[in-house]
């Protein structure tokens, strides 16, 4: 029941490093033996000396980010990366998806597969594979897509989760929309679930919730790591029969992405606050859940500035006029509750009329063809996470990512209509048809998500 992580490109390596940091420090906190050993087993491999070595493979086409991650991990003293678990080249992919996918990927395929195989063999049982990357650059997107293809080839029956970081909308990279479109279209066929964090959203969380003045990428990565950790740390699920689930990725995808056209997942976590404020705050499950529910339906990722006016449509009649443009229809939701008194947290009881806003199993939140019993799952653990006394994470397969995706495809399409930058891609081996195919697949995805209403 171990997860092997593949960190791709600069962003992937930075986020991955932050994630392992969070997981390790959370696992080693306090006197929680079963939880700790389960968490460590899942993400780390223990050497004969008792060192924790992350179950990860680091891949980048240029060495700086990898070297940084490896040295920072080693400096922490609590965990480290394997000495030979990384692969880098001298020269990057130049922000060019085609360069990553057609040139670098195949060129280094054998070496990468060997590294992966070694890491997988160190696991007693493979719970699944997770690839962390960004979609804006060249390596994370292009090489990342190629590596995911390799993963699917070599481990066809494993669960593969892709974690993507979507760039700031006002770019980091000018051709980021092309790279994103090409990546997403390909990953949709290969991956079991695609978990997305948007830089813009996380940036807002940093500035408004965490009150960070000068936000660095390190801060952004910490928030992402916190949210990811909240999903991946051990939890008790409906199928796990009273012990920590031994099939976390399998259960995650079974709850959320059974339908092949709906694979995009977004994350919300509550509470998120600066560590200095935590001592002065008290949390109650009903309040947390109420806010989280409203965050879901109004499609905000922060507990501040929630639009309480957005309501789910009343009654069986669900037409567009009633729902309004800001209502977020879900296909399936997974709630993960961690912390004190978690068993008293009520999530779906509609019979409790005093707290109607806590009902996650309200059919009005969901699309009509999946019953709310199938669509809502809850995982719980009484162990608190990352120093928060109570923490609730919502992984949602909903229309939350519809608008950003639509924007991204729209901008890429505009650029494509002028044929701008296309020559840069064509010279590495992909064709205009490949572009068109990718656009078509994503329009299909957008259409499917639109029809959830």
């Amino acid at each position: 029941m171990s997860i092997v992580t593949v960190q791709l490109g600069q962003c992937g390596n930075q986020v991955g490093h932050a994630l392992f940091d969070v997981l390790c420090s959370d696992a080693q906190e306090g006197q929680r033996k079963v939880f700790s050993s389960s968490s460590c087993e899942r993400f780390f491999h223990q050497t004969a000396h008792g060192d924790l070595v992350a179950r990860a493979v680091l891949i980048d086409m240029e060495p700086k980010a990898i070297n940084q991650s490896i040295s920072r991990a080693a400096k922490s003293g609590k965990w480290r990366y394997g000495e030979t678990s990384h692969f880098s080249q001298k020269q990057g992919s130049g922000n060019n998806w085609a360069n990553g996918y057609c040139v670098h990927g195949p060129r280094h395929r054998e070496r990468v597969e060997e590294l992966l195989r070694r890491e997988v063999e160190r696991c007693d049982r493979l719970a699944g594979l997770m690839a962390i990357m960004s979609v804006a650059g060249g390596t994370g997107s292009g090489v990342g897509t190629y590596v995911t293809e390799c993963l699917r080839d070599v481990y066809p029956k494993s669960f593969i989760l892709n974690h993507l970081t979507w760039p700031y909308r006002t770019g980091e990279v000018i051709v980021q929309n092309y790279n994103s479109v090409l990546t997403l279209a390909h990953l949709y066929q290969l991956s079991d679930a695609i978990l997305v964090h948007e830089n813009d959203t996380v940036h807002r969380i940093c500035s408004q919730l965490l009150n960070i003045k000068q936000i660095s990428f390190g801060d952004v990565n910490s928030v992402i790591a916190h949210q990811l950790g909240g999903i991946l740390q051990p939890a008790l699920t409906a199928d796990s029969c009273g012990v920590y689930s031994r099939n976390p990725l399998g259960e995650l995808v079974s709850c959320l992405t059974c339908h092949p056209e709906y694979k995009l997942l977004s994350v919300s976590t509550i509470p998120q606050m600066p560590s200095s404020s935590m001592a002065y705050s008290t949390f109650s499950w009903p309040s947390l859940l109420k806010h989280l529910r409203q965050m879901l339906i109004s499609n905000t990722k922060m507990e501040e500035g929630i639009d309480w006016q957005v309501r789910p449509p009343a009654g069986a009649e669900r037409t567009r006029t009633l729902t309004g443009p800001s209502f977020n229809t879900s296909l399936a939701n997974l709630l993960i509750l961690r912390g004190k008194d978690v068993y008293s947290a009520e999530t779906g009881q509609r019979t409790d009329l005093r707290t109607p806003n806590v009902a996650f199993e309200d059919p009005a939140l969901f699309t009509s063809w999946l019953s709310s019993e199938d669509a809502v799952n809850v995982w719980k653990t009484p162990v608190p996470f990352n120093k928060y006394e109570k923490c609730a994470t919502l992984v949602s397969n909903s229309q939350a990512l519809l608008r950003p995706l639509d924007n991204m495809v729209g901008k890429a399409w505009n650029m494509f209509a002028s044929r701008a930058y296309i020559h840069q891609y064509l010279k590495f081996g992909i064709s205009e048809e490949d572009f068109l195919d990718s656009f078509t697949s994503l329009e299909q995805v957008i259409s499917s998500y639109n029809q959830l209403r």
Binding site: G94, E172, V175, S207, V220, Y421, E443
Partner: protein
């Protein structure tokens, strides 16, 4: 870590190159306190054991013994190169990196391109090959030359096409010094236009620099430093024109201007050499800033030009961003704000966070006209090591239609001469030279101008979004 090779051709090219090496050494000396030959140094320098006559392999991590520049110096006159070899930088270059002749090109592009180009072809290729073999991962060739003369312009562009032939996968970034209108070389328009055609066809990126802008910037700084107002004392080391702290002692004429160009090159390569939270490699520059193969002229602007002795916090940072788009800081005479941006890259050095970067982009975006299909066309890079004397700096590279007026002026000057067929015989008598080359060159320039013009025409006009693909439900 990747390496880059600098190829400096002609008098102007070598003068600029000389300043570049001086400042590069200064920068690395500033950073590299331990005297170890690290990867950053390795991108421009080889570490050579002087006892080893071959100039053998450089081992990263060892002590610095003897640094040799990764450079090839080409000139058809000996004056400038000899000066370099007699100056404090002589140790940086060995004879295998030099190619000189005695008679010069006589400000004649045809002589540089055809005559010397054919005569020295093998030698040039040989030297380039040697330089590239010393690199274990060559990423980029930097070509420095001027367009007005004969050697830099003619031979320089010949070298460019050789680079494309022999090393097609290596990026070619060309820094071209454009002649100003008052240039004393009469035939500079001919040379420039003939060279431009080569640049349009063979270069990956061109950074045009106008002499006049350099002069203006120098004057501005001098005015500033002589101003004597309280609170405006400039740290002399920090000015972009200063060569202080480098190996060369006294400042020579043109040094100030050349230092600016040298700083430009240092800043472009900073992210590839040093670490940062958002790295920007050289091949990413070409990828992001060149939407169409021929439109690869990137207008550079450097800020700050100097640092005040008194520290002023964040406002200065924001001011730096604003200045980068102002007329005064561009290295060609142009007003980018009044033209259309196709793409823009911001390379920030120093202690700047991504939030500052984003804030400033948000602030400045409304006033900058971008092409309709690239409304958010920003490429950003963050390098944590600031340049010498500054706490942070910014280099902006803009693919902007404001180069059009410059090109149009150039075309006009060319046409004035060509109509009268003035001095044409000097060119035509060179073997290999034909009149058709002139007409082809000017038509290439014209079509380039036309392409920019068409894009310009869309500025301010509302361009509707392209209709999206519709999916049958």
């Amino acid at each position: 870590m990747t390496q880059s090779v600098v190829v400096q051709v002609g008098q102007c090219g070598n003068q600029v190159g000389c300043r570049f090496w001086d400042l590069a050494l200064r920068e690395h000396a500033h950073i590299n306190k331990k005297g170890l030959y690290d990867e950053a140094l390795g991108s421009f320098f080889r570490n050579v054991d002087s006892r080893d006559c071959d100039g053998g392999a450089s081992v990263v991590g060892g002590r610095i013994q003897h640094l040799k520049a990764r450079a090839v110096l080409v000139d058809m006159e000996e004056g400038v190169v000899n000066e370099i070899l007699q100056g404090p930088l002589r140790e940086m270059f060995d004879s295998t990196q030099l190619l000189t002749d005695v008679s010069g090109s006589g400000n004649n592009w045809a002589v540089g391109h055809m005559t010397y180009g054919s005569a020295y072809r093998e030698q040039i290729v040989d030297k380039l090959r040697k330089a590239s073999e010393h690199c274990d991962c060559l990423q980029c060739f930097f070509l420095i030359h001027s367009l007005g003369g004969g050697t830099g312009s003619g031979l320089g562009t010949r070298v460019l096409s050789l680079l494309e032939e022999e090393f097609p996968e290596v990026c070619r970034i060309v820094t071209s010094i454009y002649p100003s209108a008052e240039d004393d070389v009469i035939t500079s328009p001919y040379n420039s236009v003939l060279a431009m055609r080569e640049l349009t066809e063979h270069a990956d990126c061109v950074l045009p620099v106008e002499n006049q802008s350099l002069v203006d910037i120098v004057n501005k700084i001098k005015r500033m430093s002589h101003d004597g107002k309280p609170g405006s004392v400039i740290k002399s080391e920090s000015t972009v024109i200063s060569g202080q702290g480098g190996l060369s002692g006294a400042e020579k004429p043109f040094d100030a201007m050349n230092n600016i160009v040298a700083n430009l090159l240092l800043n472009i390569t900073s992210s590839a050499r040093f670490e940062g939270s958002l790295n920007m490699d050289l091949n990413e520059i070409a990828m992001n800033l060149v939407p169409f193969p021929r439109l690869h002229y990137l207008v550079p602007s450097l800020t700050p030009l100097y640092t005040l002795a008194v520290n002023v916090p964040t406002r200065r940072l924001d001011q730096m961003f604003s200045d980068a788009f102002g007329k005064d800081h561009q290295l060609i005479r142009a007003e980018p704000k009044h033209s259309l941006y196709l793409a823009c890259a911001l390379m920030v050095r120093g202690n700047v966070q991504v939030s500052d970067l984003r804030r400033n982009i948000e602030r400045l975006k409304p006033s900058l006209p971008f092409v309709s299909w690239n409304q958010e066309g920003w490429k950003t890079g963050l390098c944590s090591v600031p340049p010498v004397g500054h706490s942070h700096s910014l280099l902006a590279l803009a693919n902007n239609t404001c180069v059009k007026p410059t090109f149009m002026e150039l075309r006009e000057r060319f046409t004035k001469l060509y109509r009268k067929k003035a001095h044409l015989h000097h060119y035509l008598q060179v073997e290999g030279m034909e009149q058709s080359l002139f007409s082809e060159a000017i038509s290439s320039l014209s079509s380039l101008i036309e392409e920019y013009h068409q894009l310009d025409a869309t500025r301010g006009r509302f361009m509707p979004d392209a209709p999206r693909l519709s999916i049958a439900v």
